[in-house]
Amino acid sequence: MSILNKHPQRDSAATEAVGGDELLVTGGHTFSTLTDKVSGIVETQTPPKWYLLFAMAVSGLMVLMGAIGWLVWEGTGIWGLNNPVGWGWAIVNFVFWVGIGHAGTLISAILFLLRQQWRTAINRFAEAMTIFAVISALVFPGIHVGRVWLAYYMFPIPNQMLIWPNFRSPLLWDIFAVGTYFTVSTLFWYVGLIPDLATLRDRATNVRKKVLGFFALGWRGGNRQWQHYEKAYLMLAGLATPLVLSVHSVVATDFATSMVPGWHTTIFPPYFVAGAVFSGFGMVMTLAIIARKIYGLEDIITVNHLEKMNKIILVTGSMVGYAYMTEFFIAWYSGNEYEFFAFINRALGPYAWAYWIMFLCNVITPQIFWFKRLRRSIPVMFVASIFVNIGMWFERFVITVTSLSRDYLPSSWDYYSPSIWDILTFVGSFGLFFTFFLLFLRFLPMVALSEVKGVMPEADPHHYHHKPKSAGGAK
């Protein structure tokens, strides 16, 4: 998959569809027009719309900062937590954002290893989303502790007290799992960016050229470089793959290793991973639909791509639905009264509204994608993707809160409701996410140019003689 970065003249021929196969890039793009298209986004003057959106996102970020500031000043009590419900929206948000942060690496790593070429259109975008989602997620474990200024106790730092963290605690595993995931995802994303940064560098002047040059690490696009690069990329993909599965499995153990009825279930790790992929794709979908429209990337992120993502949403959504039912079955089958009550209470208790929102959004909504017409309808999938994320947020809420609010001794049961600060913190976390995301859209190529070019017919030296092997190869 050798690609040249900059051959505007060479690729003018590839304007027509080949052999009746679906093309991953439509609209008669050549390498050069593609480069112009994607690079152009970051090179032209910033559109006013961007400023408007950015102002909104930064406002959200300010809300988050304010809410955190007040939290640190005043104490965890500003949230709606109470005695049985020690974890509320903060943890729900953490799991929610970590979940969203799944799609990127899944798309880049696992689909890469599985040679799913359609991933190239969305992988950069999804990876960036992953990193920003993980950053948004990481805010929460930091601030949700009672003494924020001592949160570093959780890290295994040698200290004069000769105390290590407790390696038996799933919260510690979390630190390692999410930390590793964040590191590897960021590396993976950055490595993927290098050729494109070089492309931008070559088109830039002055300071911009210097900065981009610094980050492009002297990329020249030589054969040796490509050889090393692809090996590194493959290895990183190999490293990232187990992480995709591990990070949410470990997050799941936060709940599963406890003995709270409704948390203490072995199904959690796989079910959390399926849910995470589900929500991650939901989020990629939402963002992609907006971005391709605004930046006119319909040719690169085509309906075919979106349809494939919808298929994944359908599959993972059904897995999640299956998990819900399995949970119920096991709760009943176990003969454990507390366990069974925890689930009955979810569906019929005081939080039944949350449960049914979750059920509707996560299990029913994706079923519309059995129909091709709906699967390919942009408005339908846009609404559905938002539903998916609402549903997945509620899933975490249902798991976290309903289980805690009614556990073993009825004397301690209590109802949890969020305070205004819970809500502001959550809203603010979107501000953080979108601030990063908008900066990304503005300053970095949102489509992996080098990779997309690699799956264009022109990249295949034999494409005039053979049908492309795997272009459009759906799963």
Partner: protein, 1005 residues
């Protein structure tokens, strides 16, 4: 005063003279003239400087005793160390007056600063135990809103000025023999107060002495007087009683002498094995009390009909062959119930006991005395005695005084304690009368409703700051101060003695004078020191009063026991002393306001208690506002539906709606405006209707069980038999292992190699649910011992109550007439503690002695431990709850226990500080720990000895013995957490005649 005990004191003349200099009136006058600003500081010693100097003085640096002590010798109780060791507390015996009752205390003092109140083990009433009121006095002492200065018409004044004014006035009154002079006191039982009051009446023969309390045993005294001819109170011997019938008496909590009653009553319910027996308790009551919760059979009857019930019982007893006559009543009580009770009482003649509550009118008490007499109980289970030191509340004379005041007949009025303006019932316009009194003096701990209208207000010293004495249950005792008055307050003895003397008098001398007569001949100094040291002098001042059956029968025959049945248009209202505020005296006490009522679990409010039926009829639900009206006036209170309440009855708690300080202000409403002289306790003719709006209540345990939510209600009723395991004595005898029937049948296996705890001290606790009455003394004792913060109503409503030991209350059975059980829950110190594994920073770990420990410094507050605790005993500091703690309240803190900062988890430690103190002590003594060396705070407070704590590796320890009983079970034992706390299954002893459906229900569980 003699003060030659410690010769070393002579070396401290420097301090003494400075102190003396500061105390002289000339010096004070000088200061006041020179520095009017700074004078306040001198008289108002909350300032840190004064506190430190007090502490410094008391700390007795260089091994010397305090500068105050040589003059007024107070004597350490248990240990008298050769040298006072800083950090090592000392214990002093003293007494707490409480109306006509008193409690013997042992007060822990750290460097001259009292920090914890316990019961005095050698005192016949306390017996080492305590109740919530005793425990709460610690905080009352350090109440920052206590009045700190003498006021004259609202302006700062001084004791000297007050004395000068009084002397002038006294001279005039002496001339007229005290005409127009009146004293209004609270009820008391004190040899010195009695002596002084007699001296007062001698000096001012025309003066009036009136005693009034808004909550008192007046009716009991009056009823017994009708039966015996003497002013006497009944003394119950629960130890002797096999069958107890309580007629509206909450003898386990709110009625007088609750501690010895609870102890003796529960003592007869200690079941070590299936071969033991139990007493049997029948309760007839209108509102649900904890005594009702302990009942083997409880009959729900409107309080106003309890008299009718007593009469009906008398008829039944007569029908069963006893010589008793009672007026006929047309009552509709459960015939089977009455006849079974009567049969049971008869079968236990001389071994049964009938007692009535203080709410019931005198004629009911007369009838009860008669019933006891015909049952042969007089002098067996109940005796009557007169206490010469007792001054009993008298509503009639209080009304008379108010009338005289309003008629302008009272020239001068001295009010010794109490708050008559607030406490007076409607129709007794004490406040208006007070305005017509030319010279009025009010001794009071707070500038309150009464102080605002009096000429003089004198700030009252707390009993822990003053000398005094008490006389009561089985003897007399001296009140010795633990600390110099923090605000230079005066005691009632100070004020009363001063009324009688031209010279400045010291209470110490006055009391010694009284006790010279009491302690008999011999070496007075020695006897005095012993009496002060012991806190109690055994020779009883009480004289037995004999029952006069014919007199009682005559009185009963003359009485009416008929009251109309309350209906929705003519509702009954009963006024009860608040479980936490009592008559309002604990209204500014944060511990008490935050202590959940044991039955309703509501904090920080008084509520209108009604039954579910009544609520349905009125169309109200919990937290709706209810307007209760007697035609003339009305009060609006939040509704609380109380299962087991009598229908058409509203129970209202007194003592709320006070605005005397930062805690009490805005809490609840004053319901005494609905009271009138004919319906002080039980009143009829009320209507109730839903008022607009809702009132959020801070309830620590939701009303689950009888929820509208069927799902939860069913789940709870399903779980309950395994959580609180309960059976009857007869079923227990048939199946001694019943408590194990719920346990996991399969062998429980750990997931890892379990730690070996078979060596050394292994701490454990056993709690006997059969003995636990739900009195909540443990909760307050724990709060005091462990510096648990008060968080306020909002935080309690947020579900963040901090109690380390809580009392779970559950109902079983019918919503209208359920049974109630209590279960004290503190950290169970699981050997396989689920909280420990999940803490990412290892802030909670296990000690070698089996304690689940919290390292506060390490805790970062993830709250995972709390989530993972199936008992939900962990408490999180959501805010810095001690941030706004007034400096003076800091003095109430136990220096052995750290104050927790926000963001830190806390929980029961098994009083690890006490364990360590005991370990150090026995090491110094060169011996091993023995059972009983360590007494944890909840265990110490418990009046029924329901809690045992000790080494479970020692087979002879009390806790091991309790754990070895076949009723012992681990709560949620099936989780294999191996908790160190276990529970003794609850037993009731129902009457087989009444036991039909009950037994079936128990067995299917």
């Amino acid at each position: 005063m003699s003060n030659t005990i410690n010769p070393r004191v002579q070396g401290k003349t420097y301090w003494r003279s400075l102190d003396h200099l500061a105390e002289t009136p000339e010096f004070k006058e000088l200061v006041e003239k020179e520095f009017p600003e700074g004078a306040d500081e001198l008289k108002n010693p909350v300032s840190r400087r004064k506190f430190l100097s007090l502490m410094g003085a008391s700390m007795a640096l260089a091994g010397l005793t305090s500068c105050r002590r040589p003059v007024e010798k107070i004597i350490p109780y248990v240990v008298k160390p050769e040298e006072i060791i800083p950090g090592k507390p000392q214990y002093y015996a003293t007494n707490m007056p409480f109306g006509t009752e008193s409690f013997g205390l042992l007060v822990e003092s750290h460097e001259g600063r009292p920090t914890k109140i316990e019961g005095n083990k050698n005192h016949p009433a306390s017996g080492g135990s305590s109740n919530v009121f005793m425990q709460a006095e610690m905080l009352n002492l350090y109440d920052p809103d206590r009045s700190q200065i003498i006021l004259n018409k609202g302006k700062n004044s001084s004791w000297q000025a007050y004395r000068a004014a009084w002397k002038k006035l006294a001279a005039e009154h002496v001339e007229t023999g005290g005409e127009g002079l009146a004293i209004l006191s609270e009820s008391f039982s004190s040899p010195t107060m009695m002596r002084l009051s007699e001296a007062f009446m001698e000096k001012f023969p025309q003066a009036t002495w009136v005693t009034y309390d808004s909550v008192s045993d007046e009716n009991i005294f009056a009823g017994i007087q009708a039966a015996t001819g003497a002013l006497a109170r009944p003394k119950y011997r629960f130890k002797e009683a096999n069958v107890v019938l309580s007629l509206d008496s909450d003898f386990l909590q709110m009625d007088s002498n609750d501690i010895p009653h609870a102890r003796d009553f529960a003592g007869r319910r200690k079941v070590r094995s299936e071969n033991d027996s139990m007493n049997r308790l029948y309760v007839v009551e209108g509102t649900y009390t904890i005594t009702g919760g302990m009942a083997d059979h409880r009959l729900r009857v409107q309080s106003g009909q309890v008299g009718m019930f007593a009469a009906a019982l008398a008829h039944e007893l007569s029908a069963q062959g006893l010589d008793i006559k009672a007026p006929r009543v047309n009552a509709d009580f459960d015939k089977k119930w009455i006849s079974s009770v009567a049969k049971d009482l008869l079968a236990n003649r001389g071994k049964s006991l009938v007692l009535g509550g203080r709410r019931q009118p005198p004629e009911v008490h007369t009838l009860i005395a008669l019933i006891n007499d015909v049952l042969g109980n007089t002098n067996q289970t109940v005796a009557y005695s007169n206490n010469p030191d007792m001054q009993v509340s008298n509503l009639k004379s209080f009304v008379g005084l108010t009338q005289s005041m309003n008629a302008g007949k009272i020239e001068s009025l001295v009010i010794l304690g109490g708050n008559p303006v607030y406490q007076a019932p409607a129709g007794v316009d004490f406040a208006a009368g007070l305005k017509k009194v030319n010279h009025s003096v009010h001794l009071s701990s707070h500038v309150d409703e009464t102080s605002a209208n009096t000429t003089w207000h004198i700030n009252e010293a707390h009993f822990l700051e003053s000398w005094g004495d008490v006389s009561g249950y089985g003897g007399a005792g001296i009140i010795q101060p633990l600390i110099a008055p923090l605000f230079d307050g005066k005691s009632n003895i100070d004020v009363l003695a001063d009324l009688l003397s031209d010279e400045e008098v010291w209470a110490y001398g006055v009391i010694q004078e009284t006790w010279r007569g009491l302690l008999g001949t011999g070496n007075f100094d020695k006897a005095w020191r012993k009496a002060v040291h012991d806190g109690f002098h055994a020779s009883s001042r009480e004289t037995p009063v004999s029952m006069n059956k014919s007199r009682a029968q005559g009185a009963v025959s003359m009485s009416r026991y008929y009251s109309s049945t309350a209906s929705p248009d003519d509702m009954e209202v009963i006024f009860t002393a608040s479980f936490t505020n009592y008559d309002g005296r604990y209204a500014n006490n944060g511990w008490m306001q935050e202590l959940p009522d044991p039955v309703t679990k509501v904090t920080w409010d008084n509520v209108a208690l009604i039954s579910a039926n009544t609520a349905k009829h009125l169309g109200v639900k919990n937290q709706d506002r209810l307007k209760i009206s007697n035609g003339a006036t009305d009060v609006v209170l939040p509704v609380w539906i109380q299962p087991g309440m009598a229908d058409n009855t509203v129970a209202l708690e007194l003592g709320y709606g006070r605005e005397i300080g930062r805690v009490s202000t805005g809490v609840g409403s004053n319901v005494s405006i609905l009271r009138n002289t004919s319906g002080m306790n039980i009143a009829s003719g009320f209507t109730a209707e839903k008022a607009f709006g809702a009132h959020i209540l801070a309830c620590v345990q939701d009303h689950h069980g009888f929820d509208e939510e069927k799902l939860a209600a069913d789940a709870i009723q399903k779980r309950l038999p395994t959580i609180v395991r309960e059976s009857t004595l007869s079923d227990y005898q048939k199946d001694p292992e019943f408590a194990m029937a719920f346990a996991e049948k399969n062998e429980l296996k750990g997931m890892w190699k379990e730690h070996d705890y078979s060596e050394g001290n292994q701490w454990g606790m056993a709690i006997d649910l059969t003995s636990c009455t739900g009195c909540s003394a443990c909760t307050i004792a724990c709060q005091s011992e462990n510096n648990i913060p008060v968080i306020g109503k909002d935080e309690v409503s947020n579900g963040r109550d901090m109690s380390w030991i809580r009392l779970d209350r559950y109902y079983t059975g019918d919503v209208e007439d359920p049974e109630m059980v209590f279960q004290p829950i503190a950290c169970q110190h699981c050997e396989m503690a689920p909280c420990e594994g999940v803490c990412p920073v290892a802030a909670t770990t296990h000690s070698d002695e089996g304690l689940n420990e919290m390292a506060y410094n390490r805790c970062i507050g993830t709250r995972y431990c709390s989530n993972n605790c199936p008992y939900k005993v962990r408490r999180f500091n959501f805010f810095n709850y001690t941030k706004d703690m007034p400096e003076i309240v800091e003095m109430a803190m136990n220096p052995d226990v750290s104050i927790r900062f926000r963001g830190v988890m806390e929980k029961c430690t098994f009083c690890v500080q006490r364990i360590n103190v005991a370990k150090i002590d026995v090491k110094n003594e060169g011996r091993d720990l023995e059972d009983g060396d360590i007494v944890v705070a909840c265990q110490q407070a418990c009046p029924t000895d329901a809690i045992a704590f000790g080494n479970i590796n020692d087979p002879n320890s009390e806790v091991s013995k309790m754990k070895a009983q076949n009723r012992d079970y681990a709560l949620l034992g099936e989780l294999n957490l191996q908790p160190r706390t276990s529970y003794g299954a609850k037993l009731r002893n129902p009457n087989p005649d009444l036991e039909t459906e009950h037994a079936v229900a128990e067995h299917t569980a």
